[in-house]
Structure formats: structure tokens, C-alpha cells
Amino acid sequence: MSPTAKPSPSRAAESIAAWRVDPQVVAVELVDVSFSYDVRPVLRGITMTIPRGKIVAIMGGSGCGKTTILRLIGGQLRPQSGQVRVGGLSVPDLEPDALYDLRRKYGMLFQFGALFTDMSVFENIAFPMREHTELPEELIRDLVLMKLQAVGLRGAAYLMPAELSGGMARRVALARAIALDPMLVMYDEPFAGLDPISLGIIGQLIRRLNDALSITSVVVTHDVYESLKIVDYLYFVSEGRIVASGTPAEVRASSDPFVRQFVDGAPDGPVPFHYPASSYREELFADVD
């Protein structure tokens, strides 16, 4: 199938099935992708490959377009140019039904969990099962408890989201993301705002679940230290372009100025400390009407 052909829902389902059994199919592929919000360019010619079964981190400063990449993979946004392929399917060309078929194979962890606040922890995890399967309630109960056990929160099954700490909410959201045994899990800033213990727990869970369930993971983050411990490959994005990439060992040894600034946490460098502005002297001494 040509990458730009519009697959029908049934063909999409076939492709998704092929993705599960064919190890040669690349999980996610972005080819020369550009995207703008109105006239503001966010991504400029991004090309990246995410192999099956690996954890790949997309790193960069705030507002560099990391989350936009996830939204493009999820089909929530369409690129202005370039190709976004998941399991060999061209995501922007999918009809709505086919896109929804594909999304059933996704799991996504949002930055602050995005738990449904009117449902308990149990109901949150049961939600995708009830929406997409005809499983009996007894089986759903067992599956939910298994997912909660995997993230260590079986005891919190009947708490409401408002009663959870930030780290617990993130773990519940992770349990919900894997509720339907997805093939691809996307993590949007999974480490943001967590204490060191929760941060370590989430990092280990991402690695363990990825290996245990043979899924592919895309982690958007700016937490270098935690990412280097768990991911297989990293892409660095700055101003909408990929400026560096490599394995954790390559990144640690890299002398690339951007990578060094990012890894060392230097306030100034290729990413300037100051937002672009006119001359400081001119602005200070300018006449104010």
C-alpha cells in the first residue's frame, strides 16, 4: 500500500494486525514532517524512526514541539507536509473510523494524568474496556485489579482522582493507558512535577511495562537524568528541528554543544538564556510616551 493511499477501516484493521505479527514493520516513522499553528512554525522537517519494542525519548526545551509530535502520531493534528506512519499506516490519510481503529492500539499518558475526575480509579481503568469490549463485569474487575497491581496501586482502586498524589495519579493514568494491551504507548512529560521517589517509580514502570508487554514507547520529556536511565534511543529537538540523536551512551559521550547544554543543564548556550529582544541599552534609554 502506498503511504498516501486512504485505507478503509477494514484495511486499517488488517494493517494493525500485520503490525502485531510482522517484526519488520517499524512502529512509528516521521518523514520530513513540518507543522505550523496558524503562521507560527513548530516543526520544520522532522524525520525520525521509532523501532518496535523500543523506548525512544524525544527531548527538548519547553515549547520546542515535542508534544506536537505526539499529537501528530495520535492523529489529533495533521502535518502541513511530510509523512507520519504508524505500523505502516499513513495516519493523516486515515478516515475517522480507521483512525479510531488505530487509536485502540494506542495508550497515552498525559502530562497530568487526565484522569476522569467524576470516576473512581477503578472506573477510570475500566473505562476503555467498557467502551471497546463486551467483557463481563467479573472479567473487567479482574483485569482492572491486575493493571492496578502492575502499577502498585491495587489498594487505591476505590479512591477518587482528587484523593491521589501527583505520582499516584500518573501511575493510575499509566494503568489506564495499558488497559487494552496497546502496541504503542506515548508518554507526555511523565516525569514533570514528581518527587524523586515517584519519578523513579514511573521511570521503572515505563521500562518494565515496555519489556513485559512487548510494546513500543515514545517518551516526550525534558528530564535528561531519568530518561538516560531507561530509554533505548533519544532525539533532541530544538526550534522544530532534530539537532541531535543517539543511544544513552552516545549522548553521555557527546560533545555536541546542544546535547552538552541539555545534559549539563547549562543556562546559556545554543539555547539562549534570553528570549529574542531589542537592545537592552536602547530599551532602557528609550523615550516613554
Binding site: G74, Q76, Y100, D101, R103, R104, Y106, M108, F110, Q111, F112, A114, L115, F116, T117, F127, P128, E131, H132
Partner: protein, 271 residues
């Protein structure tokens, strides 16, 4: 004409044009949104527990404010009506006047305004906050359409609740009118109910009130869900969407009331 004046006029014309095209675009978006909601109506009724839950939140939880307001409006109407009717020696017509004013006009309109303030604003704030906290995006990524799961049940919950609330408002208003007119002022109870029974017809008086309340319920519910869904995902965005829901709904109710009344009177004349 100086260049500065011409530039000023051009600037204001551009702003006016921008505002008009923006409003037309928003209207088109709202129309498409309504079509999407109607398209997903079977989903709202297939998962009836979701719609029943919304009837509870929009309808049952609005009961106190609706019933209390109806009672007081009926009491005031009775007092004012008595003072006027007494001048013409027609004070026994009080029951008729109170009932007619309530079922035809005040019941649907005031219940609609209260519904917009209490339930409409709550629906907008809830959907807006779901958007802000990425709950709607999470649903989309789980291959669940938020319009089917979140919007359609709330829309139909509002549409179903509103006529019931308006009917209860009118009933409590009549009861309030009875307390003041019969119990406090001393109008004959038989005359109060008898005049009402003789003068108020189910068709067209009560039916017109029901039609109005359905129309107001649909308008308020649509505005509430649309504003919530379209809200900017920030605290300020949700706050201004909530305000817009109350303002636009109130104006829509009053404008719709005029249009519907014109058609209803015209229909009555033809009959």
C-alpha cells in the same frame, strides 16, 4: 479627508469586517457542532444511564431554585394582579390571570433564565474544565468520541429537563398565587380555581408554554455544551465561556420568546 481619518475609518471597517466574519464563522461551527450532537443522539439514548445522570444534574439539582422562584413569582404576581383587577371589580379573575401569565410566558421564560444560570453555566464549566485538564483529549486518544460520550448526553439531559422544570415552576407559581390570593387576601377559593379552569385551555395555552420550554431547553443546552467544548483551555478561557453561556442563553431565550410568541399569536388568530 485627511490620510489619518481615512486610515482610522479603514481600521474600524477592518475590525467590523473581522468581527462579522468571525461571528459568521462561529455560527457555522456551532451549526456543524449541533449536527454532530444530533448525529450522536442514538449514542446518548443507547447509554441511557449517562443521559439520566445529566437529567439528575441539570434537572433534579435545579429543583430547589426553580420551585422557590416559582413560588415567589406566583405570590408577587397574585399581589400585583389583585391590585390591578380590584380597580375593575374583576378580582375573582385572579386565578385565571396568574395561571395564564405563568403557563404561557413567565414559567418557560424565568425557568429558562434560571436553568441557564444554574445548569447551563455548570455544563459549560464542566466540559471546559474537562478540556483544560485534557480529559477530552484522553477520550479521543482512547478512540472514544467526546461528542458522543460527554456532549450528547448533556445536551439531551438539558432538553428533557427544561420543560419539566418549567411545568414545575408554573405549578408552584400557581400555588404561590393561591396562597396570597385565597389564603391571605381572601378571594373565594372556588372562584380562583373555577376562573382558571374555565379560562386556561390546554391547547393553545399550556401547549404553547411546553413548546417554548422545549425550544429554550434546546437553545440553552446547545449554547452550554458548545461554549464548554469551544472554551480556551485555560482558567480564564473557562471563566469567560461560562459567562458567555449565561449572557448568550439569556438573550437567546428572550429573543426566541418574542419570535415564538409572534408565531403562536398568529396561529391563534388563524384558528
Amino acid at each position: 479627508m485627511s490620510t489619518e481619518v481615512a486610515a482610522g475609518i479603514a481600521y474600524w471597517l477592518r475590525r467590523l469586517g473581522g468581527a462579522v466574519t468571525g461571528a459568521v464563522g462561529q455560527l457555522g461551527y456551532a451549526s456543524r457542532f449541533l449536527l454532530a450532537v444530533l448525529w450522536h443522539t442514538p449514542d446518548a439514548f443507547r447509554r441511557i444511564h449517562l443521559t439520566l445522570r445529566e437529567i439528575y444534574f441539570a434537572g433534579v439539582l435545579s429543583l430547589v431554585v426553580i420551585l422557590m422562584s416559582g413560588l415567589f413569582v406566583g405570590m408577587v404576581l397574585s399581589l400585583q394582579g389583585y391590585e390591578t383587577l380590584k380597580r375593575y371589580g374583576a378580582d375573582e379573575q385572579l386565578g385565571y390571570v396568574v395561571a395564564l401569565a405563568l403557563v404561557r410566558e413567565l414559567g418557560p421564560v424565568i425557568a429558562g433564565l434560571l436553568f441557564a444560570s444554574r445548569a447551563g453555566s455548570a455544563i459549560t464549566a464542566e466540559i471546559g474544565l474537562m478540556k483544560t485538564t485534557e480529559q477530552l483529549a484522553a477520550m479521543e486518544m482512547m478512540a472514544v468520541d467526546p461528542v458522543a460520550r460527554v456532549v450528547a448526553p448533556r445536551f439531551w439531559g438539558g432538553v428533557i429537563s427544561m420543560p419539566l422544570l418549567a411545568a414545575l415552576f408554573s405549578a408552584f407559581g400557581i400555588f404561590g398565587g393561591y396562597i396570597v390570593g385565597v389564603r391571605l387576601i381572601g378571594i373565594d377559593s372556588g372562584a380562583f380555581w373555577g376562573q382558571m379552569h374555565a379560562g386556561v385551555d390546554f391547547w393553545p395555552d399550556v401547549t404553547n408554554g411546553i413548546i417554548k420550554s422545549f425550544a429554550f431547553g434546546a437553545a440553552v443546552s446547545l449554547i452550554a455544551v458548545f461554549e464548554g467544548y469551544d472554551a480556551k483551555p485555560t482558567a480564564e478561557g473557562v471563566a469567560s465561556a461560562t459567562t458567555r453561556t449565561v449572557v448568550v442563553s439569556s438573550l437567546a431565550i428572550l429573543a426566541l420568546d418574542f419570535v415564538l410568541t409572534v408565531f403562536m399569536f398568529r396561529g391563534a388568530k388563524l384558528v
